[in-house]
Amino acid sequence: MSFWEYANPRKFLTTSERVLPLVWGLAAITTLVGLVWGFFFTPDDFRMGSTVKIIFLHVPSALMAINAWFMMLLASIIWIVRRHHVSALAAKAAAPVGAIMTVIALVTGAIWGQPMWGTWWEWDPRLTSFLVLFLFYLGYIALWEAIEDPDTAADLTSILCLVGSVFAVLSRYAVLFWNQGLHQGASLSLDKEENIADVFSNPLYVCMVGFALLFLALVLYRTGTEIRLRRMKALIARERLEG
């Protein structure tokens, strides 16, 4: 059976219905384990103190913020090339999740910045790129909201996603050129202190997997919702056509 059969909405709904409890459960367990481990059972870092615990929220959410956009890009391309409704709707479903992940990364970073850099916000390239990414999410979501006809909306938003991705990358370079940064890169990364790296990195990996699973669960569930919404619209439109 081909992978594309899951692109049939009914097939997708029945399959996702079956796996969703499992994914929700796994996501909840992994995220909880990771966060509890990270929060209660890790030592303080010698230079960051207890603030190092923020990393267990900050890095996974930052990762998912970027990955969500990649997923939307992929889904948009699939929609443009193969015109499977489910993929367009999955992109729609992922956008708010990605936007919230971006907000979490921004907020945790900003709060972390206060003790570390002495400022809530710095126009550091990485932070700035994230802010721009957030704007792209907003525009994408707003376009979906604004357009009545679902297929037109799918087409337009996927083209916006393509063009937006190119400009997001361009913005990243522009921002790098515009200001050199403060943000921890690999140089200040925890991996340098090899003896304590594992202490932090193991729960961090668990958190990353947890966030990824959570993202998966949310997107699967929301895609189901979008499929139902789409069907609802189609039924209403048909009633109108007949009545």
Partner: protein, 208 residues
């Protein structure tokens, strides 16, 4: 050039509206579309004109042959009647722009209004200008969506004459209308092509 439509299905808002429509229009002939409000006349005309993709079926002989006149006339209120026509003639790349424009003005009795801004025309005069536009495109197939809306009787007659002339000189036309135009042409009632409602639980890729 014959326009051949085979087994065409058209959709509106992703819903199939008409299906299995077939016809051919040979030069010198007019096809008149009939059917109640909302049956899908406008949708069919837009599909044939190439403004939206066909859901199924094929359209042959339409490429670069069609001049389309829609509900809206595409006139700029601040340009004069003549300037509006001239613009469309240039866009369609006809050679003898001035000559064609003055011919079209004469056809629809617009000469006295030639230098008036389109904003100052009455609804019927605007419509006449919108129809005159067809003449300056140089295209053989005229597709018209309710061309006689807001025209008075004498203008309707005039319009029928212009179309008749166009047909005699080897053109063809496809007209959706509710009234009798006094044109010789094949009539096509779309009622029988209405897409039958599908089973509700046929929940496939297109959601219906």
């Amino acid at each position: 050039m014959t326009l051949t439509v085979t087994d065409l299905s058209v959709t509106r808002g992703a819903l199939p509206v008409l299906s299995g429509v077939s016809f051919a229009i040979v030069p010198g002939e007019a096809l008149i579309l009939r059917g109640p409000n909302g049956i899908g006349k406008t949708t069919l005309l837009r599909t044939v004109a190439g403004l939206q993709p066909a859901y199924a079926g094929s359209i042959a002989g339409a490429e670069d042959q069609i001049a389309y006149a829609a509900h809206a006339d595409g006139l700029k209120p601040t340009l004069s009647t003549r300037e509006n026509l001239k613009f469309w003639a240039q866009i369609f790349g006809v050679k003898d722009v001035t000559h064609r424009v003055s011919e079209a003005l004469a056809d629809f009795d617009l000469e006295t209004l030639a230098d008036r801004p389109a904003a100052n025309l009455s609804a019927g005069q605007k419509r006449r200008l919108g129809l005159a536009r067809l003449g300056v495109t140089g295209r053989p197939i005229w597709i018209m969506d309710e061309p006689t809306v807001s025209l008075d009787t004498s203008s309707v007659q005039r319009f029928a004459e212009v179309v008749q002339n166009h047909l005699q000189s080897g053109g063809s036309a496809m007209i959706a209308t509710h009234i009798d135009l006094g044109l010789s042409g094949t009539e096509l009632d779309l009622t029988s092509y209405k897409t039958a409602p599908q089973q509700l639980d046929d929940f496939d890729g297109a959601f219906l």
